[in-house]
Amino acid sequence: MVERHQDFERLCDDYVDGRLDDLRTRAVRGHLRSCLSCTTRVEATQRLVAAASELSSIDPPSSMWSKIAAGLDEDEVRLADHGRLWWLWQGLARRLAFAGGALAVASLCIWAVALRGRTALAPALQTVRLHPSPESLYENALHEVERAQADYQAAVSDLRTIATGERARWQPEVQIAFDANLATIDAAVGRQAELARRNPGDVAVADALSESYRKEIDFLQDAVMRGQLQ
């Protein structure tokens, strides 16, 4: 009997805070009918909560509940008589139910997002106003700079591919000069890229890297046109 009382005692605070599910709430209420110690504790806690809260509580009219309460009282006394396994199951079942519910909601969200992805999502997103933090704006800006460098690299890559195909048509001395010049430019771009990597957010360094890429693009573009000269 002492063990049962301790089980209920542990639930008193949760009962006052309303954190118990319906069945356990009713079981605790059933226990309170017969346990003066727990009733005193619960009432003291409730007074404390009431005093701490400035919000006035809204009680249902007693006439509404009088008939319902009489019917529930018997049921609650019955619930209080359950064994320990029942209490464990109620706690576990609640967690399982919550996890299952969360999974269902998550899959529903994924499904909804997938469906929205097939239709135009942009208009819906336009209605969402997210207030960005300065840090997130800054992060976005850094990504923009990274994308810009990637764009330049794509252009360089295009031209390198063409140059590789054209190279065989050039005179040997032209090939040697091209290789030497490109190696020098590559080294300069590499140094600038390393500097930019070590100094993210430094616009002067990022600008210098962009300038290096543009020079490399100009050089490669001139090279691939070489075969057109008479």
């Binding site: 106003r129 997210l130 207030h131 960005p132 300065p134 840090e135 704006l137 800054y138 976005n140 800006a141 850094l142 923009e144 700079v145 810009a148 764009d151 330049y152 252009a155 295009d158 031209l159 063409i162 054209e166 957010g201 616009v203 962009s210 543009r214 693009i217 100009d218 573009q221 001139d222 691939v224 046109m225 075969g227 057109q228 008479q230």
Partner: protein, 314 residues
Amino acid sequence: MALAALVPASAALADTAAEDGFLVERDNVEISPAKSIHIEAIDVDNRLGDVQIIGRDQPGVTLAVVKRAPDEATLDRLHINLPVPDPKAGVIKISTALLIGTEARPIAAGQVRIDIKIFAPRDVTVQARAWNGKLGVTGMESGATLLAHDGDIVVSNVKGPVTTTSMRGRQQLSDVSGKVSADDTFGDLALEQISGEALAARVHRGTVTASRVRSRAVAITTTFGDIEFRGELLAGGHYELRSYHGNVDVHGSGAARIDAFSRDGQIRPETELRDVMRSEAGRLTGSFGVSDTPAVLLMSSTAGRVVFGLTPGH
């Protein structure tokens, strides 16, 4: 003191309002230099939005600034730096930044904006830099150097040397009288009514359309995009239009010696030439019109088509 004299009357008017869920702040700043000081140049670095520079026949510079942010705290973090200019250099430098912590960063940001419209004396040289905002210059007479990333560049009614560079933005230059150098990596380039000693344009993946061009030295190069040239071939002029993958299409007037090359495509002359030679596969040379100093017209595309048609000059 000269520094103070340069900006004796700098009046700022600010107004904040909400528009479309964003807070908008409008500021007007007047910079009135002392008579002894001449403003030589304006240097603007605004990666947070548009920059528009308009020439006018008045001394002094007026700035109309519009800031946009989703909330007041972010709006307060948008800074415009307008340091007192060096009176000897005569340069007004304007830059914008987003304050991150205690540090001002001149970054490109998508969810906040600063748009700047500047009214300046026509004889001021312009240097402006933007990121994804639009860069526009009109009515200036001492040239402009403009650099953007995603934003479009629009130049109209400008005299003096004009240099434009963009990564992805489109460029439109019209009614420019001066040396022009336009460079774009992934954007299209439209040149109209360009006159001046030289026109140089480079595009990697984009088209170049040049019409009513009256420059004496023209060099247009693309890797993948088409080139379309419409203009007068001036006596003694040199016109070099080259693409690797794109088509080259030239229609102009004037006497010229012609060298056309297409390795994998075809050459399609729409004009009858004199002294026609085919010295190698894919190459056609010849002359059109009569002149002591004919223009030299070089057109080539490695993988594309070369089409040209000429009419006698005036």
